[in-house]
């Protein structure tokens, strides 16, 4: 099974010490990207659940090339210590509870001495108490605990308890850590030397709105907090009374000049508090620059704002295309990165704020108004080059390579900028790719504002010179005279497409090219219009050879001759309107799915125009093989009590059209709104990654789930048992002479020389040992 399409933005990425690598939490692994190329270098595999934070151990400048160690925490209740140059797991510490966030204060001062054994290393972790019931609103499920990483023991009691686990922020010196808790900020001062639990003291800072994020100034006692309304509060000189070394003495003198603390609420321990308000929505990012002169902030509107801390002047980096989630700076002052909510990480060259590289993951699903319950319109597949096309929130279509596991390109369907609204008025509603990927059609919808100005636009695109590059060919406004378009399909082998509408008609579009005339007249035009008893058309498909067009008119399937636009036959009917129609390969069978109160999966025989068999199943998606007469459906099992939750598990069933008994079944997670497709195996990569799959041209089944948290969204599922013996195992035979292979490979993949050298020497030693015997 291959998986891919990881979520890059589940937590903040971290730069390595030489700023050449970026460590990104991707599900159960930590992926390490090169900042120069933006490509994946290696992965740290070992956690069994979501990795939540990474802490790179800082080292002195001369050792940056060799010392590549990091700590990771995960929701599988472990903390791991890695050498990420090798990459190998060094140490694993068990914690009782799932970790949400971890900081390690004073890690730099310790490793600078390079005396790891002597002093203790303490980790402050925010854990989720899973023992307490989740449905109880008042339960305090979040805890801040301290762990001694050197001897793997928990220290002291709880620092704080919160409703839900919070992210811990730490000042760059490691002196302060803080969390937000509703309308308060808790700040602790961590003593550098002789660490004792009792020495940790806390102050609270209050506000009237819920906090969303906070940040510490690198050198001064300044704390910035961002709230859900977009305000940024900056406290200066916090904790002078309670958090300083000599706090006891000072506190007596401080209390009498209350009026000298402008803006500070109540009895909070700060000199002054000022508020900046530019963001219209919640602030997600707050970050002080390393010299402390600037404050970076960002939020839902996708604009990175740079505040000059002394004057409050602003500079902007607009149009990042998506809400911003995390900002990370690197040891190299000219490089930093922004994580966006659309699962992309932009590397930014700093003073100019120009995007140098983008690491694009698969776009996360976004909410858009779903006017009609329509399955499997979220994805389209380019079978020839192994791409999946999916819609993004900023009016693009992203092409994502399934086998290579990276973003190939983005096509701007609708020339509009991203706007952070909850209910977008303009969105790409439908898309369809021809089988060879040479043509694409999209439907974009603009919703009416109080009945005004709605628009449906059908666009046809042709592929450019590169894979995933499409050029606009034809724009058709209101293709079905103000009725909503329900389906699009291309005819394989022809430049012909069909679009169906709920207004009761379908239109066949044909590409005309007029080469003789010097003025360009080529483009897509409507060739014919068809309707069946004025019934709303809900789905359409062309047969594999393109000779038959099947259009679902609510509960019946109408078969047409696409050239002559003549009705050939009608088969029907199902109980509820058909939502998906598909030809089963080159066979004479049609598979239809219908949803609603009485869902049905039905297989129809075209040779005698009758139903072959059917199930009462709620199927989300169907995929048919190209040559074999098999198809797979993604089924959501009926939950007896109430509506299905989002994380509903599903079953993939593989059928042969002639037999109602499934050939194979697989259980999958989060199947709601998922999608299936059969991909021809990628021959170019067969020898490298896909070697555990079948090598005999059996298509791969792709499964994509559409819920948040794409940890493993597609995969080649093992083919059914009867074919298993055909799978040729290619066992990795360790070489007799390791020194021949130990240095092979490109230099950036090789472990550091210190490691290689020892391995090399040991292999030599071993050999001599054997010869001696």
């Amino acid at each position: 099974m291959i998986t891919g399409g990881n979520n890059f933005v589940s937590s903040a990425p971290v730069f390595s010490n030489d700023a050449k690598k970026l460590l990104v939490c991707t599900g159960n692994t930590v992926s390490i990207f090169s900042t120069d190329t933006g490509m994946l270098v290696t992965e740290l595999e070992g956690h069994t659940d979501l990795v939540t934070s990474v802490v790179v151990v800082p080292v002195a400048a001369n050792a940056r090339k060799f010392m590549c160690y990091c700590w990771t925490s995960s929701r599988d209740s472990t903390i791991c210590y890695w050498d990420f140059a090798a990459p190998e797991l060094v140490k694993k510490i068990k914690v009782q509870l799932p970790i949400v966030s971890m900081v390690i204060p004073h890690i730099s001062s310790l490793s600078a001495d390079s005396s790891e054994k002597l002093s203790n290393l303490y980790a402050f972790v925010s854990v989720e108490d899973i023992n307490k019931p989740a449905d109880q609103r008042k339960a305090l499920r979040g805890q801040i605990q301290i762990y001694n990483l050197t001897n793997s023991r928990r220290v002291g009691g709880l620092l704080a308890e919160t409703r839900r686990p919070e992210l811990i922020s730490m000042s760059s010196s490691g002196e302060f850590i803080g969390i937000k808790n509703k309308q308060k900020i808790y700040t602790w001062r961590i003593p550098t030397k002789e660490f004792k639990y009792d020495d940790i003291r806390r102050i609270k800072l209050h506000h009237t709105k819920k906090f969303n994020t906070l940040a510490f100034h690198p050198s001064e006692r300044i704390i910035a907090g961002g709230d859900v309304t977009g305000r940024i509060l900056i406290w200066r000189g916090f904790g002078k009374r309670n958090l300083s070394e000599t706090s006891r003495k000072l506190s007596a003198g401080r209390t009498n000049n209350e009026e000298g603390n402008p803006g500070v609420r109540g009895n909070d321990d700060a000199d002054s508090c000022s508020t900046w308000h530019w963001h219209p929505e919640a602030v997600h990012i707050l970050f002080f620059s390393s010299d402390g002169a600037y404050l970076y902030s960002g939020g839902k509107e996708g604009v990175l704002v740079v505040w000059q801390l002394d004057t409050g002047k602003k500079r902007f980096k607009p149009r990042l295309g998506s809400p911003l989630l995390y900002y990370t700076h690197s040891p190299d002052p000219s490089l930093s990165c922004i994580s966006c909510a659309d699962n992309s990480i932009h590397l930014i060259k700093m003073p100019s704020m120009a995007i140098v590289k983008s690491i694009g993951g698969i776009k996360l699903p976004f909410s858009f108004p779903d006017m009609h319950k329509r399955p499997s319109s979220d994805f389209a597949f380019d079978y020839s080059s192994g791409l999946v096309a999916l819609r993004t929130s900023d009016h693009c279509i992203q092409f994502f390579s399934l086998f290579e596991n990276f973003e190939v390109s983005q096509v701007q369907v609708c020339e509009r900028n991203f706007q952070p609204v909850d209910d977008p008025m303009v969105f790409v509603a439908l898309m369809s790719l021809s089988g060879d990927g040479s043509m694409m059609s999209t439907v974009e919808v603009r919703l009416p504002e109080e009945g005004l100005g709605d628009l449906i636009t059908l666009k046809f695109w042709a592929r450019g010179s590169r894979v995933g590059e499409y050029n606009l060919v034809t724009v058709i406004y209101e293709p079905h005279s103000y009725a909503e378009v329900s389906a699009l399909a291309f005819r394989s082998g022809y430049r012909m497409a069909v679009s169906t509408s709920l207004g009761g008609e379908f239109k066949v579009w044909l590409y005309y090219s007029d080469k003789q005339k010097d003025h360009q007249k080529s483009g897509w035009r409507c060739q014919s219009v068809g309707s069946y008893k004025k019934m709303p058309m809900t789905a359409a498909a062309f047969s594999a050879d393109g000779s038959v067009l099947a259009v679902a008119a609510e509960t019946v399937v109408t078969l047409w001759d696409p050239d002559k636009n003549a009705l050939v036959a009608v088969i029907g009917d199902t109980f509820t309107p058909i939502t998906t129609i598909s030809f089963a390969g080159k066979s004479d069978y049609i598979v239809t799915l219908s949803q609603g109160s009485n869902p049905q999966l039905a297989v129809w025989d075209l040779s005698n125009l009758s139903i072959v068999w059917s199930y009462k199943l709620r199927a989300e998606a169907v995929a048919c093989t190209e040559d074999l007469s098999q198809f797979a459906v993604l089924v959501l099992p009926e939950v007896p009590n109430g509506p299905a939750t989002g994380d509903q598990n599903g079953i993939i069933l593989l059928f042969d059209v002639k037999k109602p008994v499934p050939l194979a079944t697989w259980m999958v997670k989060k199947a709601k709104k998922g999608s299936l497709a059969f991909m021809p195996p990628d021959t170019s990569r067969q020898h490298t990654d896909v070697e555990d799959a079948d090598g005999s041209g059996i298509p791969l089944l792709v499964y994509i789930n559409a819920r948040i948290g794409y940890t493993s969204i597609y995969g080649e599922l093992p083919e059914f048992d009867s074919k298993k013996d055909e799978i040729q195992e290619i066992p990795f035979v360790p070489s007799e002479r390791p020194w021949e292979t130990i240095f092979s490979g490109s230099s950036h993949v090789l472990p550091p020389l210190t490691k290689l050298c020892s391995a090399f020497l040991s292999s030599l030693l071993e050999k001599r040992h054997t010869t001696l015997e």
Partner: protein, 527 residues
Amino acid sequence: MAADTSKPFFPVESRHRPRQPKTLTPKSRFWRSFKSAPLSNNLILPVTSIEFSPLAPHDLAFSVSASIHLYSGSSLTPKSFSPLGSFSDVAYSPSFRCDGQLLAAGGESGLVQVFKLDKAGHAIRRLRAHSRPVHVVRYPRILDKLHLFSGGDDAFLTYWDVPSETQLLTVPGAHKDYIRAGSTSPISSEVIATGSYDHSIKVWDVRVSNSSSPVINFDHGHPVESVLFLPSGGLIATAGGNSVKIWDVIGGGRLIHTLDSHNKTVTSMCLGKIGTENGGESRIMSVSIDGYLKCFDFAALKVTHSMRYPAQLLSVGFSPSGIARVVGTSNGNVYIGKKKKKDDEKMEIVDDFSAFRPEPKEKVLRPTNFRYFHRGQNEKALQSDFVVKKPAKVKLAEHDKLLKKFRHKDALVSALNGKNPSGIVAVMEELVARKKLVKCVVNLDVDELGLLLGFLHRNATLPRYARFLMGLAKKVIELRSEDLQSSEELRVHVRNLKRMVAEEIKIQRSLQEIQGMISPLLAIAGR
């Protein structure tokens, strides 16, 4: 460093329109290059025939009433001795000799006269043989300067020796009806094709001993109005009735193509060379009573251009030099289309001394000169140079700048102050996409509301915007009814809107009536 991949600001874009079919094809561009002007010469009688001289500068002759008008071929102005007026009755069919020195013309009286064209005066030869009007007088097109063909309504075809005014050959009863058309062969001086109202076309060769019978005889099917030898000499085009037919003479009178593009009788044809002045493609130009001039490409066998004139057309001529197109009508108008010259070629006057004049020496720029510091700035990049282009500065319209700052109402007002309706609608649609249009309408003050209502009054019924703007007009009136009642100025706008709606309803009703009339016809046609 890689270019910044973040997205630019997208300005609002009005909807694409279907591309207007380009009206200017190369052919129509060619024809449009003729500046057309009717000649106001107070003629009432029909212009029966138009002829260009075969020699440069291709003088023009046309027959109207009892005179032949002569125009200079280069300037298209009447010659000093024009018109030739020694006709006792209506003159017909002027024909230039192949060297352009002489002109022969027939007439209603049956007399064929030959004129010398360098000065005014009476005919130098008078050929008397026909007893009825002579509509066909033709000089041979090549070589022969001595002979002349004439055909008359008495169905006589006569071959003349002009100097001696004697008939070398007379074919009595050459046709069974009036001879009204004739064309001499472009490759032989002894061959003529004649067409008659008896529907037949006959090709005669005076060298044939038994000359009372034609070489070839074929039937057009209608009274023949015009006959034309095509330049190869192997094809003949004939006009009669509504059709023009092309015949293969060498192949024994085989019909090659029939062209039925006229609605009424085709009266005349001529040959034209279009395109570049030297050479170009040959076209048959035919004119008809229906007022159309059609241009027919006989190589591709299709009509390439057609022009309409406001009168019945009787005659057509096209200058061999390609600079003039002349059409004569039944009410005496002559339309002369003269090709517009792009720029007068400047004649360089080369005097003998210019070769010896010293070339002006190029001054060497010195740092004392201001231009010294600007030298090389206007240098063009060579083809081999690598050009580093400045990124084009994006120019944003005022409303785009305001939309970028989310000042929606200001953007709407700024667009309304502009002139372009499609731009205004584009801004409105953008506001809909941002869900702000209704809010903007509510926030408009009275002046701006007046602006909006004025725009709606002007554009709401345009079919392109009607669906959106009608709804908007309704919404505006709903939302701002109190303001509309209180302000006198706005009430005027509302009155205008009301009138517009009433007009539109009237139009829709009449359209429905038309639809009601058409739909039964369509139903019948569909059966």
